[in-house]
Symmetry: C2
């Protein structure tokens, strides 16, 4: 038996495109003599479809798509992810299902049993867990079909009270197929390999795992579909961050000792490629072509520009340099150098005159009150307005340049530098932004060295440095990591040896700035715990604040 | 047996205050000779605690609070909502529980079985459903304790596969107690009465239902706790939008024919009071006192001002009037009249000079391109910057004035009039805003009549009217209501007789403006389906767009 894996970039709700892609891969698989072709979870509608699932008309489109695929599926079988209506009187209205399609019609529908409802996942919001688990028989082979989370219980703190594969294993399947929609984070590829190996080893059969590829707003699916042999070893891996298609011969995976030995990519290489795909798909799926970025001379906007150029091409990226009376010469010089290195268009607008026009009008209200945060924010907001004006005039989408450290402690101006259609590095800590800059410069100097070496500053008042208001970024980022990614509390973090006052101050800053993060653009997710849909906090909460 | 209901305003994560309030009500109940006092769901930590529940330190605080309450609870029993750790190896780490406390210690812990995971609710994100259901015996009475959703299955499209009260009923309880956290919408009080009557009637025993009161960011809890007698009739109701406390004599509710006959409040009265509480608690819980609002001369900002004055007092509300060359005289005159009627402070800043300073700096980039949306948005953003400058300088929190119709179709400027700490009328359709204005004016003219009668306009270009870009608000709001509140698709809505092109255009506008709504302030929720946490849509989705 020959099994093809089709790792495709779907677009949520774009049925015409998704169905066409699936049918095209079915034909390709047939052409290569495959008996079965496997697609990923909810392939028909894209993942995550979110509340579109609550519209009867959306579910009807899914059904129509499956019918069309079934009618094209002759001389080969396919397994395709799609939602199904729950015909029972009780429970949620839908199942998250795998359709087994052959001979021009749907032969069997298998439902997902374990519904991830944590972090970025909301599956129990829509789906009833599958209650029955059943093997599918095809051409003399027994197939155990599962969907994503169904195989993720590897024995440590099980989140569910059942184990679907244990039940399916009783019928002695010949191989496992898992349809997934498993979003990227910089650790996730390693975890997926572990899960595949665990399952193939435990049940002693080959396992075919098909993931999504492509970004859907903040969620980036990296692909990396996997095949494990019956000895529990990874036998092959599909491409990362690209569509891919491969055919495997089942007997070669049984009892085989051959291992796939490609080492995993480095963290910065993964983050770079994920962010590039994130930008690319945000633009492509929304029908945009060109971006605009405000270039401050600092590391964050420089890295954002470098990523945008990789994603969209230098012709589609333009920047504004907007110096004020507080900007140092090197801010403009370094920015110009970056533009020259990348070959992008730049314009310069000094904001001093606009600032003075605001100042004049506000004078009757402000009187003689001293310069403070109001005037600092004013400058950031003038820049935000200028960027949006050019964006609106020329149709360039504004990319946000805030990093995760700033977003965490609220070191940014709402409606100013926090503007943008999508936040590129909002899930990358400041210390990681520096690492990413070095990665970007690995072959040649794209980001001018001085941008990397000079001390970070917002330049909103004379001689301002980030270090005036913020602790050292190394300490800050470590403490943030323990609080955000590891969800450790003050007691645990202080016990690690960090200064008590510093820890309490940082945790308080994170919590009182929830209101700011509520209004930021979606942030491309690259870590196991990003701000946004995967981290839901009450704004008026009074805890550690 | 005498049973007290304590309907309190909790603050998420503010353990000190929540525990003190609970203990104070226990003492009050004791003073009034009650045998049992009932609090609401997750009273100890406030509702919804959201991802704070993922922190061990947060759960430890809940435990400490329960211990403290238990030690104070002598000579009386109390039922208090709190999260509990799941001691089992399988399933989610927490239960959503009701603690039965008496004689200085925890006597019993009952877990919620049905976990709402839809709309604004995310309970399966955190909690394992309770698997065992057991009666609590106290002073010779059998008590069936349930938590909120546990009793909401009234036979129509059941979302769960079990019915906890059916199981508890087998032990012949003497009365039911339900701890709730049921947020307001303008239909919800009527639904709650129906649910209580259904349960009391079905099981033939009295039912005590205790709800939260108080707003937690966008979610407004209206209170309205209920008592039903054994005949399935509502016997009494606690206050709406205020804390309340009452003691009931159980025998009087058995076989009683006495009914509570207070008619429900009108929709506009409910919405008015809910929004006032929403503003009040947002400020109180975040430690703010004063608001600022941009007054355009239109109905939306006028209604927002009137609500803010009710919530915060006229001394704590200030406004900016920011006319441009496109503003009509009546915009300023009507605004001034509103300020005089309400007695609030106003300042006027003409934006023309600032606009020209932007215009001048953008000229080298814009060249001779004609005035368009870029210049329209520029004006709205200048106003946004001015409001934020005054906000930052004086600590007044900006209230957003967008209505639901605008938010739906994207008729607003991001980083301009979409700014604000919280959106007051973002869940109120334009046609409802007019009704609300009439309600506000029911006793005297607060909102000048001309603001209500003149045709709405954004005044961002010469002679602009909303009707230039938008359909008639009556049609628009009806179509939006079917799409948003009723989740009907184009086919169903067109079948009702609306123009096909109009329906498709409106649905498309809703979907392509998801990106704008992602960055708006939280909107006080008054309808059964508000934008925000209860409506989750993919930004890059391509469905009906």
């Amino acid at each position: 038996m020959k099994i093809a894996l089709a790792q495709l970039n779907y677009h949520i709700g774009n049925f015409e495109q998704n169905v066409a892609k699936i049918i095209s891969s079915i034909n390709k698989a047939k052409g290569k003599g495959a008996d079965l072709v496997v697609f990923s979870e909810l392939a028909i509608c894209g993942y995550p479809p979110r509340d579109f699932l609550e519209f009867a008309s959306f579910i009807a489109e899914c059904k129509k798509g499956i019918s069309k695929i079934a009618s094209e599926c002759t001389g080969i079988a396919a397994i395709v992810g799609a939602p199904t209506e729950n015909p029972g009187a009780l429970g949620k209205n839908l199942f998250n299902s795998a359709y087994f399609v052959a001979e021009g019609r749907v032969q069997k529908v298998v439902h997902k049993s374990l519904l991830p409802t944590y972090d970025v996942f909301d599956e129990y919001r829509y789906f009833e867990p599958g209650k029955e688990r059943e093997i599918v028989e095809y051409k003399g082979h027994k197939i155990a079909i599962t969907i994503c989370e169904d195989i993720w219980d590897i024995g440590t703190d099980p989140m569910y009270t059942i184990c679907p594969m244990d039940e399916l294993a009783k019928d002695n399947p010949d191989f496992m197929v898992n349809l997934s929609a498993s979003p990227f984070d910089y650790n996730h590829a390693a975890e997926r390999r572990k899960v595949l190996k665990y399952n193939a080893d435990k049940y002693g059969i080959p396992c075919f795992y098909v993931n999504h590829i492509g970004a859907q707003t903040e969620l980036i699916f990296d692909g990396g579909s996997l095949v494990a042999n019956s000895n529990g070893e990874i036998a092959d891996e599909l491409a990362y961050f690209h569509e891919d298609f491969k055919v495997y011969n089942l007997p070669e995976l049984v009892g085989s000792q051959k291992q796939y030995t490609q080492p995993p990519a480095s963290k910065m290489s993964l983050i770079n490629d994920a962010l590039v795909l994130g930008i690319k798909d945000y633009f492509k799926k929304l029908g945009f072509k060109r971006a605009i970025i405000g270039l401050s001379g600092g590391i964050d906007s420089a890295v954002t520009v470098a990523l945008a150029v990789q994603a969209l091409g230098k012709k589609n990226v333009r920047v504004l340099l907007m110096p004020s009376q507080f900007s140092s010469d090197h801010s403009v010089d370094d920015s110009v150098k970056l533009c020259e290195n990348t070959g992008i268009q730049y314009d310069k607008i000094a904001i001093e005159d606009i600032y003075h026009s605001f100042d004049k009008e506000l004078k009757p209200i402000f009187g003689d009150l001293p310069f403070n945060i109001a005037e600092e924010n004013l400058q950031a907001r003038i820049r935000g307005v200028l960027l949006m004006a050019v964006s609106n005039k020329f149709g360039n989408i504004l990319l946000n340049t805030s990093n995760k450290s700033e977003a965490a402690v609220g070191y940014g101006t709402l409606y100013g530098d926090m503007n943008g259609g999508i936040s590129v590095i909002g899930d990358v800590y400041k210390t990681e932004v520096y690492e990413l800059a070095e990665y970007i410069n690995r072959n040649e100097e794209i980001i001018p060295r001085n941008i990397i070496t000079k001390p970070p500053s917002a330049e909103l008042r004379s001689n301002q440095k980030d270090s005036d208001s913020l602790p050292d970024y190394k300490d800050l980022d470590e403490i943030l990591y323990h609080y955000i990614e590891k969800r450790e509390g003050p007691k645990e973090i202080i016990a690690m040896g960090y200064d008590e006052q510093l820890v309490l101050r940082i945790l308080r800053l994170v919590n009182i700035n929830e209101y700011k993060r509520y209004q930021t653009p979606p942030m491309l997710r690259v870590s196991p715990k990003a701000f946004g849909m995967g981290r839901r906090m009450p704004i008026v909460g009074k805890y550690l604040s």
